[in-house]
Every structure is written in C-alpha cells, then in structure tokens.
C-alpha cells in the first residue's frame, strides 16, 4: 500500500524533528513503524537523520546480548528479521522445551491474562501487529496500516493468502468478528478496558475482503499499539471460536497444538501451512509447567527445559554463572506502583507523600530485588524506556535531612496493603522507611482478597490508604496514565485529581507531533513528581535465560511474550 497524504505529512514532521536532532534514528524507526510508513518513505525520513547519531541512538538499547527480535526492521514491510540466527532448513530445528509457571487461570485467548496462558496462545495464534522487544511494531496478519482523519480512523490491510490451520482463509470478516467479540459490552476480556475511550463496539467495518477500518472515539496516534500484541487478548480467532481453547486451538500461528494438560503443559508441532514460508525453524515446542519457581530454575539447569517464559531475576544467579547459558535482558515498562490515597490522612498532605518518597534508597531496592538490572524511577509514569520520557527532572534520591524538614516534627505511620508477590518489596520499603522514622504496618492479603470487591466502591487494591500493585508493561505511557492518574481513571487508586494533568494526557494521545508529545509528557511527569500521588522506585527489566550452547534466536521481551519463529539449534 502506498502512503497516504496524512502519512506523508507525519513523515515530513518526523524528518523535521530528526533533522533538528530532537529525536534519534532509533526513535524515527519506531514512530515510522507505528505510522505504518512504507519502506521508501522510511528511507527518505532516515536520510534526514544523517548517520552521525547512529551510535548514540543504539546505546539507548539495554540489550547486552543478541536480541533477535530487536533487530527487526520496522514499518509496513515484509521483514526479514534476525537472519543472523542461522538459516536452518525448515523443519530441521528440533523441539524447544520451555518452562512456565502453571497458569493460575484457564488458558483462553479471550480472557487469559497470565504469562503462561498468553505464551501458549501466542504460539498458535497471531495478532494484526506484533510488538518487538524494542517497542517497534512488526506486521503480522496486517500487511500495512495507515491513519486517516488526523488519526481518528485507521485503515488496516490484511496479509493475503493466510489460512487458519484447518484451511479456512483469513479475511476481513474474521478480523471484524474477532474484535467484535472483545468489544461487546458484555465481553469478559480485559481488552475491553484497554480499548476504553478509544474504540467501541461497532467501530470496525469491513471495507473489502482484505481491508478493515477502525473508527475511533477520538484521534489516537498510537492506535497501532492497541491492535498489536501489546493488547494481548487481540489474537485473531476463527469466527466460530468458543472456549475451551485446547479443543478449538485453530489459529494462523507458526505452531499447532498437539496436546494439552492443565497440570503438565502443552505440546506443539510446526504449522506446515504457515504463511511465512520457511518458518518456523523448529519442528515443535513443548511448554512444561512448573508449580514452583525454584523447581523451574532447576529444570533449566538440568536441561529439562531450554528457556523460560517468565523469570525471577533473583533466582537466576546459578544460571548466570553457568557458561552454557545466556541471559537476555531488555528494559521494560513493567512497574510496581506504591500508591497513596491523597484524600485520606496521612497522605492528604503533599509534604508527607514527598517525605516517604525521599526516604527511599532506590538504588538499594534495585540492587536487592532486581540484581541492579532495573531502571530507577522518579515517581512519574514516564518510564525511561518511553521516548517521550523527560530527562531534565532531577532524580529523587534518599535524603534523610530533607525528610526531617518535610515532616517538620510530625510522626507518620501507616498501613501498607499488598499481595504475596510483592512481599519482598514491602519488607524492603518498611525497613528503609523505619530508618527515616516512618513506621509502616505491613498488611498482606491473598491475591484474591486484594483484587476482590467492587472497583467502583471498595476493592482493597484501589481503596486502601497505601498499597503496592504490580503492573505488566505497556507500550504507550498513557495506557498507565489515563486509567491510573487521570481524575476519572478507572484504576485511580490514589484518588488524585489534577485538571492540568488530565488535559495533558488527552493532548498527548491526540498529537502525532513528537515535540508536542514531549511537552505534554513533561507536564504530566512534573505534576506527578511534585504532587507524588504514587511512588515509582524502579522500572523492572525483563530477562529470559536460555541454553545458548544449544539454541540461537531466543530473546527477552518486555512483556515476556514469546516469538520462536527464528529459533534454531546452534
């Protein structure tokens, strides 16, 4: 598809920014992939960058080892990703064994939310667009996409000649049916929340057999992210799909499900009719469930599995010391948020919130809990991994004198509510705050209890005075900011309300102009940093260990997603 007028205009704006040095070459590539620009147009924009900033741009990547997916060219092109990983003839690749923690919910593409479930349906099913580990977008079932009407309408052209594993061809009607299923007001999918305020039921129309049109509620320049793997429930399913997944696992993906046990794991063989000829390199994949994270690491060490879906960094030390293994690492946008109710004592006073934030030794938290792999947080939701993240807000650091000054003799104590996965974090916070004379009572609830109740009136994770909530990474910062910090946000646990921030969040989404985005991002970040409704101590890195004596082409993903298309034996 050739570029339309709007794409050429946005490309022109990108080129101007690149020329002025405001954005890096890497960032140009990322934006070009979101806007769905064609290869020639990307080439023209890149020409404006010159070549001198290549190196500095690349150092922003935190991937110390080879990340096959990260090298993928962006844009509306047929990519030839990761050709470095060896071109094993198709079907000679053997079976990759992958460890995963036993899913805590039924595996189902429509409602699944746990990492192992997501990994399983990502092997058999595909999205319109894949999210690369460096946040660029790669066409999957969509061949190209283009904005119209200032980004309020998006036209998506589907890849031709794709069939489901039962032979049914993929067409625009099927894509529409898939999205209608998620957007139905009665839908049980978390995707409904992800599309909230952007795309509603009835917003998708079929233009022709291989073109679908998304009409949005408001202009949204980052919309392609929402129809990418980033919204993990948006895999394209057959029109007649119904749960249970294991009985109807018909997808367009690189693998087909051959056996499934809710307690043991799942086996897959390569999809012989996969549209991307020559892929996957593997004969099959075997996902093995582990009930215990320690046992999962032992399984990796003993060779029972070759890699993992999710990993706990602090458990990987024995693997890191073993030369047979490589641990790939990417900067993520996953985060544990320390929320304080600004409408309740003691956090109704800004100085108290700032005092708590200033009493924390963020580097020590990072070293203790993430082996130093995380990126430090600065109490706003613009992670360093986001291109629009402001760099000129001073990093908040531990300063016990300042804490004393802020508290002005007032003694502070509060109850911190959390669920078991964040216990270590809670204990470290309690210990650090104790040094500053702030006493914290730990209130651990079971995960069920923590998330139970009504989200509008009483659920603990949104209504306790202070709490810790873990968030999986999001590709677009406003996916955090709008639900969590905007005055009417559905997950606004701090009850913070700031009209200036609200306006900036909306303006951020509406604009395609990078300079404008950075300006709005700074307004949001400064307000959050100053008012401190939430404390962000660090942004977690995502790691994936694998046996590099046996395999190449395995990489970490900020959301722990799996893409094994380019995996091959050494």
């Amino acid at each position: 598809m050739s570029d339309n007028e709007l794409q050429r205009q946005w490309a022109g704006e990108l080129a101007d920014l690149a020329r002025s040095g405001a954005i890096s070459r890497r960032e140009v590539l990322r934006k070009a992939s979101v806007f769905g620009l064609s290869i020639p147009l990307i080439g023209a924009v890149l020409a404006a960058c010159g070549s001198d900033d290549d190196k500095s741009a690349d150092t922003t990547s935190a991937s110390p080892t080879t990340a096959a997916g990260a090298g993928t060219t962006a844009g509306g092109s047929e990519t030839t990703s990761a050709s470095t990983s060896g071109s094993t003839p198709a079907g000679k690749g053997g079976i990759l064994a992958v460890g995963a923690l036993t899913p805590s919910t039924e595996v189902d593409p429509v409602i699944g939310y746990d990492a192992a479930s997501i990994a399983i349906f990502q092997l058999t099913h595909e999205y319109l667009i894949w999210l690369n580990p460096d946040f660029t977008l790669r066409p999957q079932l969509a061949e190209s996409w283009a904005p119209e009407e200032e980004g309020k309408r998006w036209v998506v052209s589907l890849r031709k000649g794709v069939t489901f594993s039962d032979g049914t061809p993929l067409d625009a009607d099927t894509v529409k049916a898939s999205y209608d299923r998620l957007l139905d007001p009665d839908s049980e999918s978390a995707a409904l929340s992800a599309f909230d305020g952007v795309l509603e039921a009835g917003g998708i129309t079929v233009q022709d057999e291989s073109t679908v049109v998304f009409d949005l509620v408001r202009p949204y320049a980052d919309f392609p992210y929402l129809i990418s793997a980033n919204t993990y429930n948006t895999v394209i399913l057959p029109k007649d799909y119904t749960a249970p997944y294991q009985d109807h696992a018909i997808g367009t993906g690189p693998f087909v499900l051959t056996s499934f046990s809710a307690t043991d794991g799942a086996k897959f063989s390569r999809n012989e009719t996969y549209w991307d000829t020559g892929k996957p390199g593997l004969d099959g994949v075997e996902i093995k469930f582990y009930k215990d994270p320690q046992a999962q690491v032992l399984g990796l060490q003993s060779g029972e599995v070759d890699t993992q879906v999710t990993s706990i960094i602090s458990l990987l030390t024995p693997v890191a010391n073993n030369p047979d293994f490589t641990i790939d690492q990417v900067n993520g946008t996953g985060v544990n948020v320390f929320t304080m109710r600004v409408d309740q004592a003691p956090f109704d006073k800004k100085n108290i919130r700032q005092a708590v934030a200033t009493a924390l030794d963020r580097q020590a938290i990072n070293d203790t809990l993430s082996n130093g792999a995380a990126a430090l947080g600065n109490d706003h939701l613009l992670a360093p991994a986001y291109p629009a993240s402001p760099t000129d807000i001073p990093q908040r650091e531990i300063d016990l004198d300042k804490v004393k000054e802020l508290l002005a003799g007032e003694s502070v104590s509060f109850k911190l509510t959390f669920e078991p996965p964040l216990k270590d974090f809670a204990v470290v916070l309690q210990e650090q705050l104790k040094q500053a004379g702030i006493s914290v009572e730990l209130d651990q609830r079971t995960s069920d209890e923590f998330y139970a109740g009504d989200q509008a009136t009483d659920t603990p994770w949104l209504f306790t005075t202070a709490n810790l909530v873990g968030w999986a990474g999001r590709a677009v910062p406003t996916q955090f900011i709008i639900p969590m910090i905007k005055s009417d946000g559905i997950w606004n646990g701090s009850k913070y309300a700031n009209p200036a921030l609200d306006a900036a969040a909306d303006a951020y989404d509406a604009t395609t102009d990078e300079a404008e985005k950075k300006k709005q991002a700074k307004i949001i970040a400064e307000a959050m940093h100053e008012d401190t409704p939430v404390i962000i101590t660090d942004w977690s890195a995502s790691v994936r260990p694998y046996n590099s004596k046996k395999w190449t082409g395995i990489s970490a993903h900020p959301s722990s997603f799996v893409d094994f298309n380019d995996v091959a034996p050494v």
Binding site: Y113, A190, A262, K291, S302, Y451
Partner: protein
C-alpha cells in the same frame, strides 16, 4: 457405617462453610483485575455465586452425590477426572514410598534393636533422626542438584512422561523423611520384645538368633509400621505438597493447595471430600490389619 456417613456429612458441611469464607472473589479471579466490573458481576451470576449459601450447598451436595462434581474454575476441566487422577497419582507415589520405607525401616530397626547400645545402633538412630529432621525442600533440592543438575542421571521432575524414573527422587525424598520415625519405633519394639521372659526362656532352650527373630520378634515388630501406616499414609496423601511442588508431581496435595490459592471452589470441595474418605478408609484398614496381626485386639473386641 452410620458413624462413617455422619462424619462425611459433617465434613461436607464444614468444607463448604470454610471454603465459602475464604476471602476473595472467584469471578474476579477468573477474569483478572483488568476486566470490567460489569463482566465480573455477570460472571458471578453465571456461576451461581449470588445465591444464598444454603441453596449453593444443596445444589453442590446434590451434584456431588450424583457424581456431577462440576468444572474447575481455573483449569476448565471436569473436577471428577481432575480429582480422581490426582488422587490416583498420590496413592501411587504414597504406596511406592511405603513399599520402600517398610522393608528398609524394618531391616534397620531390627538391626539397631538386636545390636542395642552398639555403634551400629547409634549410627542408625542418629542418621534416621537427621533424615526426619531435614525438611523435604532441603533434601529435595539437594537431591535435584546432585542427581539431575550435576550427574544428569535422573529427570528433574516427576512428570508422567518419565514414568518410574521420574519417581526415583521423590520416593528417596519421602523415604528420608519417613524412615527414621518408623525405624525408631521398630527398634524400640525389638528391644522390648528381647527383654520379655518368653524370649529369655527361648534363648535358654538354645534357639538360634535367626529363628528367634523369625518366630518371635518379627511378628511383634510388624505391628509397629502398621500403626504408623495410619499416620504416615495420611501424610503421604495430603501432606506431600512440598515434594509435589518441587518435583512437579500432579498429586492431590498440590491440587488442594492450588485450588485453595486460586479459590477454585468445585475442585477444593471435591478434593477435600475425597481425601477425607480416603483417610477414613485408611483408619478402617489399619485397624483391621492391626487386629489380624495382634490377637489381643481381636479378643478384646470380642469380649
């Protein structure tokens, strides 16, 4: 029989009441925290969780008695198959472990008892105590590191696909825990038997040690592991959680734990009931074997 049924009925009420006061929201659990509140409310109605506890209990009990145990909330599979297959695996592991533990403990206990006060006796007692005192998650991890990671002789999990080979490490792990306790009991029984007047008389009459052990000591000592069976089998069925988690063995213990953590009520209720039945049957069975081995019990009852 009446007592048996009454106990079961009370158990079912207790289980139902307890599982319903576990804090949390099943519907929210199933759909995740990011699903809309409307969807969660609808799911709760769909599962019938908005009905009164009494109505829920009646419908659950009716289903349970008819053999319709419902569908697991979190695994999407029928509960009956899930529970029975996990129970079967637990029984398999428990029985294999017991089949190893009993002869080993009998042998060691006899040896220690016959060599009462010697170095052999002390070594067996101390080693047995060490084994009992070592938690499974320590011995298990050590076994895994040695035999799976370092030597690569055995698989690091007990998945079905590995067959008996996968069971070697979990069984060793269980033997280490159980053997010390039973050995001590056998030893004590042997020592006591040897001090009995009739044994002394037999010795004076010139009986060989082998014949003494066979005719007098062994039968008395066998009673011990049978009594222990009641206690240990309960542990082997329901208390194996650590071993099951560590070796990824799909037994009833980890099924119960998972169901409790995930608030998977149909699975939790059915698994608890079934475990209860098995434990009660174990008591009946051990009483019967005990009576067969020790005539005094039979005589006492007949009176």
């Amino acid at each position: 029989m009446g007592g048996f049924l009454l106990t079961l009925a009370l158990t079912s009420i207790l289980i139902f009441a307890l599982t319903n006061v576990i804090p949390g929201d099943v519907a929210r659990r199933i759909l995740g925290r990011e699903a809309s509140q409307e969807a969660v409310n609808a799911k709760r109605a769909e599962l019938g969780l908005d009905r009164s506890i009494l109505v829920q209990y009646r419908s659950w009990l009716g289903g349970f008695l008819r053999g319709d145990w419902g569908k697991s909330y979190t695994k999407g599979e029928p509960v009956r198959e899930l529970v029975l297959s996990h129970l079967g695996r637990s029984l398999e592991l428990g029985l294999i472990a017991f089949a190893v533990v009993v002869p080993v403990a009998l042998g060691l206990g006899l040896l220690a008892g016959l060599r009462n006060g010697t170095r052999t006796d002390r070594a067996i007692t101390v080693l047995g105590l060490c084994g009992t005192a070592t938690p499974e998650f320590v011995s298990g991890v050590l076994l895994l590191i040695l035999f799976s990671v370092r030597l690569n002789w055995l698989p690091s999990s007990a998945r079905d696909e590995y067959g008996l080979k996968g069971l070697v490490l979990p069984v060793i792990c269980l033997v280490i825990v159980c053997v010390g306790y039973i050995t001590r009991m056998v030893r004590a029984s042997v020592v006591a038997t040897l001090e009995r007047p009739y044994v002394r008389t037999a010795r004076l009459k010139g009986i060989t040690t082998a014949a003494l052990v066979r005719r007098h000591v062994l039968r008395n000592s066998l009673v011990v592991p049978v009594t222990a069976l009641g206690v240990q089998l309960r542990y082997l069925i329901g208390g194996l959680i650590t071993v099951e988690l560590l070796f990824n063995y799909a037994g009833i213990g980890s099924l119960l734990l998972g169901a409790a953590q995930e608030k998977d009520l149909p699975t939790l209720q059915a698994a608890t009931m079934v475990t209860g039945v098995v434990i009660m049957l174990t008591f009946v069975l051990t009483d019967a074997i005990y009576a067969w081995l020790d005539p005094r019990v039979r005589v006492g009852k007949a009176r």
